[in-house]
Amino acid sequence: MSEEIKLMKGNEAIAHAAIRCGCDGYFGYPITPQSEIMETLMEEEPWKTTGMVVLQAESEVGAINMVYGGAGSGKKVMTSSSSPGISLKQEGISYIAGADLPCLIVNVMRGGPGLGTIQPSQADYFQAVKGGGHGDYQQIVLAPASVQEMADFTVLGFELAFKYLNPVMILADGIIGQMMEKVSLPLFQKRMTDEEIKEKYPWAAYGKPSHRKPNVISSLEIESVEMEKRNQRFQAKYRKIEENEVRFEELECQDAEYMLVAFGTSARVCQKTVELAREQGIKLGLIRPITLWPFPKNEIAKYTSQVKCFFSIEMNAGQMVEDVRLAVNGKTEVAYYGRMGGIVPSPDEVIEFVKTKMV
């Protein structure tokens, strides 16, 4: 099949990519600015073609627990929401992480706290990368900066979820969800059959044949000695993910004296900022973390001797800047600039801020 290039919204790209990559089930609840994901799925009616189940749940809580049930059956399942709805899902995400289940969760962030605003924001960074729900767990967090990446990370997200049996979150924002760009959609993959699932995921609860012990999907372990062992196993898994799955992109870093660090929409703003800075003779570069967890700390640390100041540019009150500081570990300056409440910083604002820190 030849490459298909389409013009669509980021939210729509996720829906199409999900159908194409053989997703078995989507469970969601409407919330702005991501409702087009479920709307597109309902319009496409994939249950008639690939057999994918699409269900509008009674709440975000219902939806994430449906994802738990689907994932426990060895199926490729996902949900999507926006900030307040993602808060409601945290209990379920903790259970999913605690039961070693794979799934994809999409958060198209809006400004908070509380009901906040429907405008784009990156204020759920802490919630996404530091756990969010209760207990010591981590989810893999992918930060798309284009409509193309919304589609690509849907496919990648499922791959990583099943590779590590762990929840994966796509952390986008209202702009990436709503803006239209060209996108090359992934090729169609067949959904796995029940027989293939049994063979590939022998842990799944699909009904117990007489020859094996029951498969029990659970995060419960009453014996604290056993629960500690389970935690140690989780931590070992997280270290392996940190070792293998860091993804990032560099722009004009080679000779940079000043370095922006930004993800998602902020990174798009910063690409323009770097271009403007270079025109003005300022040696500015950009590191764009693609995985927010695992965070590209070594890749940032590599530049501490060369860079006079790192700038964490965010659409929040300064969250990722803490991880940049940890990576830099006091070896050079780290500054934060950002806007909150649904405001997107402009390249001019960012460059003016950079200049205030130039020596």
Binding site: G25, M66, Y68, G69, S73, G207, K208, V216, I217, S218
Partner: protein
Amino acid sequence: MAIQNIIKPENLVYTKSKILTDIPMHYCPGCSHGVVNKLMAEVIEEMGIQEDVIGVAPVGCAVFIYKFLDIDFQQAAHGRAPAVATAIKRLMPNKYVFTYQGDGDLAAIGTAETIHACNRGENILIIYINNGIYGMTGGQMAPTTIDGMKTATCPYGRNNEVNGYPLNITNLLAILEGTCYVTRQSVHNAGSVRKTKQAILKGFKNSMLGKGTSVIEVVSTCNSGWKMTPEQANNWMVENMFPVYPMGDLKDL
């Protein structure tokens, strides 16, 4: 007659279901859970559906039901079993899927999941143990605690002004378009045990007929939580709970 002659296979009148594991049940002596767990095992064995059944365990006293039945299970967050079961059944429509939940799980924290799974007519079986109390956490007031009944969080008895009214959620579920079979049973004597077993059998069969959700409420005793002997608890249940939660079918389509 010599013992060897008595224990011949042809003289066997009762045996433990093969679906019940050898793990000792943690339920208190006198509690209804053990009986209902056993009935689940018997029905699954008699229907021959071990390979095709997936249970969803609740939070509460029955959280470890997955240790007692030799079938695949998913353990759900408190109240979320009907949502978990919804996805399992939708993704594997040829499987028998049931939830097993207490009154706190089903009628308090999981009210939304319960009502909406039933209202969508999910082809699942819901087993609902109503003993009017939170057993596992030490005997607190449940949504179904009856008026005047004393618990750890209504130590002077449930008072409508302070605590509101006992929630008869099964009556609510019976009026929903999505339910096909809604019944209220008990397991306090031999007759009621047999009726409950028949109800479970019907509920499982319904889930393959595409008729909608089956709900079996089992009005149950929690003699430890009620601070009674098993016998006192059975009598108290008949005298005090049955008038509020009367036995019988509410709906059978």
